[in-house]
Point group: C3
């Protein structure tokens, strides 16, 4: 996609006197920065009033950057509306979940279904595309910024009805999908539909009995799911609107927008289809597990099954988390190589220069408030920049996985929208428990949508596959029939695309495949545990939920040793065609889950990226016949280099590697083999 590894990030010269720009660019150059993302939040500067546009400043910026040979990622500035737009057309502001109309302030707050917003955004983007489409230095269009949030205004309500009409055609079908016969919610006219928020379907403590349940749940999952889909689609329509304008002027340059990992409100698999390249913003907290960061990279790569851009990371610290720790020496470097290891083709920072005021002034930057280069942060940025210049060859290389892990926004939404059985059940956390196993074994994993082609994988892991949509049963069965290993868990196969239960016994469409019938689902309080025993010895504990399982065709791998279901299976294995399905009927303790997945991997002949066990992270990217091994120590302790790499040369430093070396924390090598 790009000729070099873009190394740069958000740059906001409009916040600084023009005289300082030259010095900035010189400093960037010393850091081997080759790219800048500009015009992210300049609408108010570009259009000071309704009928006035002014591109002088942006022209200067683009010209200056171009002259100095920077690759420009050009944003469209539509993520923050000018104050005058809110004043003149209050409709552009969102109405929030509690029904409150907002005013000018913040960002990311335009009603996606406001014709006024759409109109002015179109105008602006047309002018930008017209003006800059022929700049050879613009290597990427960056639309808007971190799309997100929800709106509950009247325009959205009307648009929702249109969206529903298109989807369901008749109210009968809609009533069936939402199961409105429950609680007498049958709808007889489209305009009886109201948006599901605090003022309508949201469950309050008073609404459903004397004890409260988790916030943000509604009485009708069907409407809530459709609203989430609609909202994601509405924002996506905003993206497509801008993209199409740009494409009409410039069909070559790739178009992206920056995503946010496992951000819940947007169905990124659907979004990625409309994007030329995925880009995302990586902001782990000081205590986020590295396996979670890795998983999120893999998810972002999985969106298009292609390398991605790292549009934002901080060179040092964030400002908006509760505890904004510094990245330790070497950490930013290690984290950047982790990004590349998992499919990143760019390393971009938020931000190149720290703003002096407003809410992000404590967010780290390449140029800190001190204003010069003599900082630890700058030195680390510069060293990395230099190294990356030597890594151009990895651009476009692939991550090849034998294991696919399903991730699905519909499931995410549905699982966390449903009422019962256990409020502590969280989607991403469940997915991560499975991912972590493979991560620790250095087994590459693709994060897949539920409609992916499973056939190229040896193992498909589908934790809490709560919602089984049309076609999924057939695809999964074909996969296993054909020799694949499927791992699935409790709370799988329960509902259809509208959150209506697949009747006839859990796990519904997975029942034959898993060879089990789940008669009941027990919920454990936070202080409760169940115990179990593996059939071939060893004991474990379960938490959260416990399926009460009857074997049909499956065999038991482990059974409960307490509770009324003592003796009944907790983990099962079922041969189906040439493959096998493993059903994990409870949240297992970490070590027990490892035992189960060891068995899966063994039977599927899934192997690690190298033959040796190690607590280093080792990921491989491949291009043609060349493998690039990314070796990183994220452990607090020193870890010896695996023998595999004895005698190979580190691409970054040119040094010959030896298994006699013990890697310190954050030490990173790239071995080409």
């Amino acid at each position: 996609m790009f000729k070099r590894i873009l190394y740069g990030g958000d740059y906001n010269p409009e916040q600084w006197p023009k005289e300082t720009w030259g010095e900035d660019l010189e400093i960037f150059k010393d850091a081997h920065i080759n790219s800048a993302t500009v015009n992210v939040f300049s609408w108010a500067r570009l259009q000071p009033s309704e009928n006035e546009y002014c591109f002088d400043e942006l022209d200067s910026i683009v010209e200056k950057l171009s002259k100095e040979g920077y690759d420009i990622v050009l944003a469209t500035s539509t993520a923050a509306l000018p104050a005058w737009l809110f004043k003149t057309y209050p409709e552009v502001a969102r109405v929030d979940h509690e029904g409150r109309k907002h005013k000018f302030g913040q960002r990311h707050n335009a009603c996606p279904n406001s014709p006024v917003y759409q109109g002015y955004a179109q105008k602006l983007v047309s002018k930008l595309a017209e003006r800059y489409n022929n700049s050879s230095h613009v290597v990427c269009w960056h639309i808007n910024n971190e799309y997100g949030g929800e709106c509950f205004c009247e325009n959205c309500e009307k648009a929702f009805r249109v969206w529903l009409k298109e989807k369901y055609k008749t109210l009968d079908v809609l009533n069936e999908a939402w199961n409105t016969a429950f609680w007498g919610h049958t709808l007889y006219a489209w305009d009886e539909i109201v948006l599901p928020n605090t003022l309508s379907e949201e469950i309050s403590a008073e609404g459903i009995g004397s004890e409260g349940i988790g916030a943000r749940q509604t009485c009708f999952q069907g409407i809530s799911l459709d609203y989430k889909r609609f909202n994601s689609d509405s924002l996506l329509a905003n993206f497509k609107m801008e993209r199409d304008i740009i494409k009409s002027w410039d069909s070559q340059t790739p178009v992206t927008t920056n995503l946010m990992g496992t951000y819940k409100p947007l169905d990124y698999f659907k979004w990625a289809k409309e994007m030329d390249i995925v880009s995302w913003d990586n902001y782990p907290a000081y205590n986020t597990p590295w396996s979670m960061v890795a998983m999120t990279h893999d998810l972002m790569r999985g969106l298009k099954n292609q390398p991605f851009m790292l549009m934002e990371q901080t060179p040092s610290q964030q400002n908006w988390q509760p505890y904004n720790s510094l990245k330790k020496p070497g950490q930013m470097r290690a984290q950047s190589y982790q990004t590349l290891a998992h499919g990143g083709d760019t390393i971009q920072f938020f931000q190149l220069k720290r703003s002096k005021g407003a809410c992000e002034k404590f967010h780290g930057a390449v140029i800190e408030h001190v204003g010069h280069k003599d900082t630890r942060v700058f030195r680390e940025v510069a060293e990395l920049g230099k190294e990356l210049e030597g890594l151009t060859e990895i651009i476009g290389s692939q991550n090849i996985s034998e294991v696919g892990l399903l991730f699905d926004w519909d499931n995410y939404w549905a699982l966390e929208s449903t009422s019962g059985p256990n409020q502590d059940l969280k989607y991403v956390s469940q997915i991560h428990q499975y991912y972590r196993y493979f991560y620790e074994k250095n087994i590459s994993v693709d994060l897949l949508p539920v409609d992916a082609d499973f056939m190229s994988y040896k193992v498909i892991v589908a934790p809490v596959l709560y919602m089984m949509k049309p076609g999924m049963k057939e695809a999964l069965e074909a996969f296993v029939l054909n020799g694949g290993r499927l791992v699935t868990t409790f709370m799988s196969g329960i509902v259809d695309q509208s959150d209506n239960v697949h009747l006839g016994g859990y796990p519904g469409p997975l029942r034959e495949l898993a060879g089990v019938w789940v008669e009941e689902i027990d919920a454990l309080g936070p202080e409760q545990k169940n115990r179990f025993q593996f059939e071939n010895g060893g004991e474990g504990e379960t938490t959260l939920l416990s399926d009460v399982i009857h074997l049909e065709d499956a065999t038991s791998l482990a059974h409960y040793t307490n509770n009324f279901y003592a003796g009944m299976p907790v983990v099962t294995q079922n041969t189906f065609g040439r493959g096998q399905t493993y059903y994990v009927g409870a949240e297992l303790d970490r070590s027990s889950l490892g035992i189960v997945l060891d068995q899966v991997c063994e039977s599927a002949t899934v192997v690690s990226s190298i033959d040796e066990a190690t607590s280093l992270e080792i990921m491989k990217r491949t291009i043609d016949d060349t493998d690039y091994y990314f070796i990183i120590n994220f452990e607090d302790e020193e870890v010896p280099l695996p023998k595999t790499f004895d005698g190979t040369v580190d691409l970054l430093t040119g040094k010959t590697l030896s298994s006699s070396e013990r890697l310190l924390k954050y030490t990173t090598y790239v071995a080409k083999m």
Copy 2:
């Protein structure tokens, strides 16, 4: 009231294809189900638009159930309004505590003072009553569903002023009652009164100093109390409106609505007077103490001092609690017999068939999602059903108690509305501390309103009798004069019916009766404890609040050994006429409270249901000269059967009981003696 123990529950055939109804009924029959509650949420089906009614579906349901011999509990469907009603008449929606007007969504959300809502509800109920009044299979009318919640709309504001005018006649009287001279809130016109909510009298952190206090308290307890009374009355007026229509068509069939135990917003003692029979919904959480469940049953029985209907319980699990554990094998049976033991005359489930979608799909049912009978839950339901057929003789039998425990919604509201002295003081928890003692001793307790006839009791227990309304002093004094034992506690006798203090020294109207003057009330932080010593030896600890007590006529049973009130009494006893008053001036540790209540019981010659101490729950119901002993083990350990029952026959199984048996958890017998 009923010829057999109604065994059934909520059935919503309108959620399912008509073809499936027959199969459902057959399955129910196998479970010995003899009753179904229908039409709870069908308004939108019965009246698809403003001028259109359609009873075909309901006719079919009633006809089908009747033909198969089911007793029908016929609901009125007014608890969930059709969407079109909200669209056409937005006034039917409530305004919430924060002043937000709601829209269509959820249920239980009609403004009770909306003339439009009232008008359409009347019409619907009239049509239902006209249509089904002569069905011999309708054995009970079930009005609306789980009345509850509050409304703060303009209609309610106007109605509140009318209600107040009727109560107080003049503003002078109202100003006096609300003590509006405080903070200059004197009212000079009725329309100056606004509803007490977040927008008006609610205390916020800013409102009263730099530290916040518990939410939902207002500056004027008088207006808050009156609003709570008004709101309870408003909903009760809705109930009475429907009841009167039904009675005008059918004066014979009992009319009820399902209550919710200790639900705070409604004064159920006042409600019960308007109901032919009390029914209620029993949903303990996985960690609710069994003594709390028992107490709530006794409260529901106490509302009319008559047997009650158990309108809802789940056969397996709930969906709306944080952790919805399964009922363990035998638990549902034990819990059902506990219900009967405490005065239940029916056992009804929510629900007979699990819905496939919307927020209650994870709520247990007789027919689970699997759709057949071969489930643990079904088998337990069927076994119980069979047993209950043999228990018809207990219908109408009485629970006879020598101990009365006062429960009063005015006190509940007032105690938790007042500002100070300790935010952790909760009404139901205090009542339960006393109830638990008797429960563990197997001493039957009646939960009484404050205007009950005390004379038939040996002991009246009145914890935190904060509000003493007119007549209570005289009634309690007469009771003790006449030889009764009164037990009361700290935070008693403090205020009158408007939450104005009884001046002249705490405990106000109880001062002579208790023979003590409470000079001060100390509040303890959550980490603090006081210590005390019984006069006849033994030590204990107190928490929460500590009265500083001066003996007047009373004698001390125990005195503090720390704090500045060391040496002063913490528990006192006062002879008054032929009886005695015990005053417990602090929250005692459990074992110390037991010592005090042991002494009360001994002096009052109150005895347990059997002569032996046991950790089994043993409750007795009596009809004529026959006693039915309900024997249940709710302990985790095995418990031996008391010798009392040696040789008696278990009514459920026909087996002869022996004290050599150790009962497992949930084992239940009914011994007729």
Copy 3:
């Protein structure tokens, strides 16, 4: 200011029958009460309707009190508006932070920028001033009550724009100050400015990424700071409006309003300039450290650098805190003398008589609900009253300090408004950590505004001096040049008056003075600690934040022993001119901070109030050549009297003091030397 120590407090006869007033006054007299604060909440009584005023009741009260020789503190009653005013003019009600228009209810809720409120308040105060200005018994005017809170209505929005225009003159200047170039918030017209609240600039979880940050922060600190200043000014304008009316009738009698210690929303240093005397309400919680109470007294004294009135304290307990413990015997006395010790010249209670209803009925009073004098509380009040009659000579005596501690509302607001680096960083807590050291050493401290004259101090302590406004650099440098010791800490010198960073390296304007450059600021999670070693031995720990410090001219007093900045300084000392600056680059554990401050005090020759170390609180007030030593034991243990006081006479009891005495908790002496 006053001829005697005012001893009395809030008295609300309007809440009681007129017949009882005489008895009240007799009881007060027995308690040596000589003053009453009246008319605090009587607007509705004084003006029952728009065109009707009635002063009869107040006339009687004033007359009665005057006849009995009470000094009257006469309030203006404008803190609680009559109900009719809200009904007729809804604009007088505030709009809250969430944008909700309020109604009649509570108090302290008038929109400060409502012309209607202002107009009616003016009228009322004019009438009061006209009527009572010549009463010789009115010794103090008490305007309104506990000013506080915020309003976000349209009137305030308009007034805010006017306030901004006056401050900034042009939008260019304002745009620069708020750094609106960030996120494209450039403003092109004054009416584009909206108030910063939940509906506009407030940061929500959705607004700024996938993780939330602390509530009540906005994206633009500049607008939030200006709003806070504006709001404080708006309420102050209300105060000044009333004051000016009173002064026009009565230029002699001092005018005050009661403040609330470290109450965040109001810049009390600015307020104090407009007040003749500071008065404040002292309500520590049961677990507030005594050092915090002392610090708050010193702050209140520091506002005008003059003795102050204690306008409110409770004789026994509060009602509005979570746990309203009783004051133990002697505690109220000790606490009152602590007040005098720190500069109080009056002791006034809220309240003289407990109200019988509404939210403060559980707030302690001189006359309790029992209505007579025979209570512990009354006896303690009476004893203290008698003692105070003998202490008239201390009125106006000074507290003389060698140590100044900076406290600044702009810093308070800015530090807690900023986004990052650690959400647990709280202003008052940081100030208190430093104050506590001096308190425990019995070293007198003045709480100073940032524009104070530092020259009379030996040590200036400026913790978290985050915002350095114009002139501060010069003043602090002059102070140190001249031989002073400055102690400052991490998060100092970072931003200017608009929360824009002082570029060029932290700690900005303090860099030369401190002789250090802070390259980075690390944030620690709540479970994390850093370790360090003093250069001359001894180890310690740090929490919260850790500066990464480079020595420039300074020398290191202690260095980190872990983390990547191991070996780098954590505490430094810099000689600057004839003085020295100590920079404390992290939150030190208590004992380590003591070691640092010991060194500061030693080098500055700052001494304790007496030569001996003691855990007693010992504060000195001085008048001419006479010193009054206030000696109080706030410890749970007995503490020996220091030898210093051997042979001196306690002014309160006349007893001769001896170091052989061990003081019990709350024992208090006043030694004149």
